[in-house]
Symmetry: C2
Subunit: 145 residues, 2 copies
DNA sequence: ACAAAATGATACAATTGTAGTATCATAATA
DNA sequence: TATTATGATACTACAATTGTATCATTTTGT
């Protein structure tokens, strides 16, 4: 039961780092240095975030990434859904097809309730809220996300 | 983000079916008929539940399974932990080792809070509570779990 | 004693999801 | 036109999930 995959984790860290940036854009290489992640992996994540509209990118020399959306408006669920698909706690599939009792099932109803509450809580977590409460490790260092 | 795997799902359905049983024991074959699951898969699940102490089994002719614990005392987390390991929403591993910012990380704190609440809710779901609210499909038929 | 009916124990296989790597194409700038 | 950046895409490695397949062991009834 893992709520957050590494893709999401890395993406959130990257988004925080970009959001804190004073410069207009920050390149993948700079982010690699700050975040200490494998470069190709981070690049793929950045490309995905760009495609999904959370980042703007500029190509060529002096290029890089910037937030396309204000940090207050990027929620944890946004990022999770990009990298992990729809936020569903229980699909109740039965050999690829939906379970036939899906409408009567009390367990399903209970899980769905929990799911709703979890999503509300996850939505309340934004890039902005993460940055604000952040502990400064060192001004030029990686942050505790 | 799947909270419940099929193992857990099947196990819960089986436990419900066993709990509802009037007979002393119910065999794997009978359960297969009621629950319409692949027999070898269900058998493995039943063996696991037995080893973990949720079921008692009797071998030989006329043998089968019965609950070892009252339905009120079997929680969804019990079953989940058997089949899915410890209930943790965010391990924050960084290439096998713990993330170095695990103690400062605000996101981690938030996720941990959510995790605690989810676990409380999952613990509140018991086999008994599932059975009570159950919809009768047909007396001899599979239940909507 | 023996066959039948049940579970116990294990080993194996298929599929999917996660976590990455590697390569080449394309665009912007100086 | 060389350099520095991202874009696109294909590939690999590993782990978890989702099963299947066999054979051994125990109990019961005849
Ligand atoms: S068993 Fe399928 S919805 Fe509950
Ligand atoms: S980034 Fe590791 S605990 Fe948050």
């Amino acid at each position: 039961m893992k709520l957050i995959t590494r893709n999401t984790d890395y993406a959130v860290r990257a988004l925080c780092c970009i959001a804190e940036q004073k410069q207009e854009v920050i390149s993948a290489d700079q982010l690699v240095k700050s975040l200490k992640m494998p470069r190709p992996f981070l690049r793929k994540i950045l490309q995905t975030l760009n495609k999904e509209g959370l980042l703007n990118s500029s190509m060529g020399k002096g290029g890089g990434f910037a937030l396309a959306v204000s940090p207050e408006k990027i929620t944890l669920t946004d990022v999770m859904e990009i990298f992990q698909g729809p936020t569903r706690l229980n699909e109740c599939k039965f050999r690829k097809s939906d379970c036939p009792y899906i409408n009567d099932c009390f367990l399903k109803k209970k899980i769905d309730e929990i799911e709703k509450e979890v999503i509300v809580k996850l939505k309340a977590i934004t890039i902005a809220s993460i940055i604000k409460k952040e502990v400064n490790v060192d001004d030029k260092e990686v942050r505790g996300l």
